[in-house]
Symmetry: none
Subunit: 426 residues, 2 copies
């Protein structure tokens, strides 16, 4: 393959009607994206199209607009609706040619399975004139690699296991050789903005304001911002000619972000809040109990998602009824009547009672309205009280979370973890 | 909206750099594909592109080649890298206009959360001149709908919960009116195969064997089979010229599947096991308590995912330590020493004690090794005991689940729900 000038960018084209019905999840595209990025080739677009020759040709052309490497998966099978090789030939303006060596291989594949080759499979031995065939050790469909106007076109099978093996064995070494003059270093910072009403809220848009020009498009390093259930992930993508330089650029940006965002940043990489809080508890040899009402086990589940959580997490109560709050936790029996189950007083009593019963260093209690039912004018859906109790104080936050039942519950549990994280911060 | 001649075809454009790194799975596209197909609008292409205005415009144009309805998700946020509204304006060759009504709505959203609107969010009140804004009841980003050369362009937020609500409320009714000619009827059957070691396991491959030729490609109705955390979803897709005929075809297949799979089928549509069990409990006016060890709140969370679960679910214990099992549930103090915490005896005692303490009709207990740590030669990762106790019997199953910590925990909780479902079956 010719080596053109850097930087290299890739585009992925996933072919197959079944990918468009929403029934089959396209795992090939995310696999390829991740593998390509790991060798410093960013994926700039990804197309999913049906088994239609014109659509495939159009997508291949569009992909060539902003990428140098185009990888198509699927449509290499033996049936009439497999049209990728025809589309490639059409784009390259060449004929399909029978390759005797490929035909032999396909025949051998069937012999090894003690079956006779169906006539249909013969079509898999045809590839566009001038293109290179890629070996398939797990199935019958060979891959195809071709040069077109200084763009590299690659067609791989749609079956994930076959695609992966072919990519790793025949494509990755070739691409790694192409991607030598550009290095990408990626850093991820995980933030949990405090939405405390007392503290003054900080959401995604506030972060954008805080970061200002750092988030500009086209900047290098590029800083991406995504939000998922209250957790904001800032991804720093530094591109440079050598690894050291890219590393330095990423580190410099990480430092600026840490200066600007302070304790809002709770971790790096793929760390979850419960993982970070778990490490704090384990390191400080502290223990934790939880008492949950509206979150109904969500907080306990997040804590026990971490293997080894038994070092610090010992007791959890899901006191979904008022009676359970009274008989199991032992909160004063008139409290729910006087203030309602969703109140500062009940949250505080739940945390204090849970800590006493479990004899732990900390206890967290959550009570609120997760909706869509159960709300009143005074207590709307999304209103949640969270208490964190320890031997010297009990902090209670009143919060409003937006979204559906699932996200209100998850946000409440995450906010509780974040309160404990800030408390445990040394 | 103008009504052009059918059949209508759709294209989906997913916007966001984070979707291209392989880190974030694009669930929006498959959700939209499925929902569109359910109203007989097939999706013919799906594009994923980064936060780049020219790429967005190019993708919108390409999509117009083979689709009449183009739905874009993402890029409507308040930050500089949110460029969908600009791209739409560019494609439509119009300016962005501030809509006072939208600005008021966004300001009110922040007021309802007792926060001040950051200056950045103002941009969300701008939409292309002549376009229609779609209400967002869960967040700040309004959607956009516009006509362009007889094509319908729709932009929705990227946050899945906001996207879904907006699609269901504002887009689906509009599209249903457009789709008139070919009729697709979709039926979904949800199955939970018993993997009981005693009963003899039935997994996905057994289902495929049981169904045989019904699962052939190209068959009409088409039967798709997907598996997620032990739940097998069989989707019947019947295509016909009129609704009655498609309905009859789907019903006939549903009947055959029900005959073949029997009580393995627990529900239809999007029903979850916890929803079905919750309905059974509510209808039969029965109550439930749970005591969890290795699942650490997962079962309680699944149960309380359902709004109104307080009608039947009252008490939950996460007894993650042996001490908690003894002091909170009151299981005999020598049981964990004699048999180990992961044993039939402890599971049984946990369920019996939980039922007694909570005074419920049923109690479920789960104890096992979720891994990756905590295993021994006798008790490998994946070994789980599940007990269901009622006033006349206590059933305990010994199960082995494969997979990682997350899936072992989820499978265990789902299996427990399925045991109760079969017990409650009238």
């Amino acid at each position: 393959m010719k080596k053109a000038s850097p930087p290299r960018r890739a585009s992925i084209i996933s072919i197959g009607n079944e990918l468009l019905t929403g029934q089959t999840v396209n795992t090939n595209a995310s696999y390829l994206s991740e593998r390509l990025l790991s060798i410093s080739i960013p994926v700039v677009s990804s197309y999913t199209i049906g088994d239609d020759i014109d659509s495939i040709v159009r997508a291949l052309k569009l992909a060539s607009n902003d990428a140098d490497i185009i990888i198509a998966t699927g449509g290499l099978g033996p049936t009439d609706d497999d049209l990728t090789r025809q589309a490639m030939a059409k784009l390259l303006k060449v004929e399909l040619q029978l390759q005797d060596e490929l035909l032999q291989k396909i025949e051998n594949f069937f012999i090894s399975q003690e079956r006779q080759m169906p006539e249909n499979n013969k079509v898999q031995a045809y590839i566009p004139a001038g293109a290179k065939a890629l070996a398939n050790n797990l199935g019958t469909a060979p891959g195809i690699m071709a040069d077109a106007d200084n763009k590299l076109l690659i067609a791989l099978p749609g079956v994930p296991s076959e695609m992966k093996q072919m990519f790793e064995e025949s494509v990755l070494p070739e691409l790694t050789a192409l991607a030598i003059d550009q290095v990408i270093v990626i850093r991820k910072l995980k933030c949990f903005p405090s939405t405390s009403l007392r503290a003054g809220g900080t959401g995604e848009s506030n972060i954008a304001e805080l970061l200002g020009p750092m988030m500009q498009r086209g900047r290098n390093p590029l800083i991406n911002c995504t939000v998922h259930c209250g957790v904001i992930t800032l991804t720093i993508i530094a591109t440079a000619e050598d690894k050291d330089q890219a590393q330095r650029m990423a580190e410099k940006d990480e430092k600026s972000l840490r200066d600007k965002l302070g304790e809002m940043i709770y971790g790096t990489g793929e760390q979850s809040l419960s993982e970070v809080v778990g490490e704090q508890l384990a390191q400080q040899k502290k223990t934790l109990a939880v008492a949950e009402s509206c979150t109904g086990g969500t907080l306990a589940k997040l804590l026990t998602d971490i293997s080894g959580a038994s070092r610090y997490f010992t007791y959890g109560w899901v006191t979904y009824s008022n009676t359970a709050k009274i008989t199991e936790l032992g909160i004063p029996f008139d409290l729910t009547e006087r203030y309602g189950a969703v109140s500062e007083q009940v949250a505080e009593a739940m945390a204090q009672c849970a800590r006493k019963k479990a004899a732990t260093d900390f206890a967290i209690a959550i009570t609120g309205i997760a909706g869509p039912t159960g709300a009143s004018e005074q207590k709307p859906v999304g209103l949640v009280y969270i208490s964190v109790d320890s031997d010297n104080s009990c902090d209670t936050q009143r919060q409003f979370f937006s979204g559906d039942r699932e996200s209100i519950r998850l946000r409440a549990a995450q906010t509780a973890l974040n309160m404990l994280r800030l408390r445990l911060k040394i």
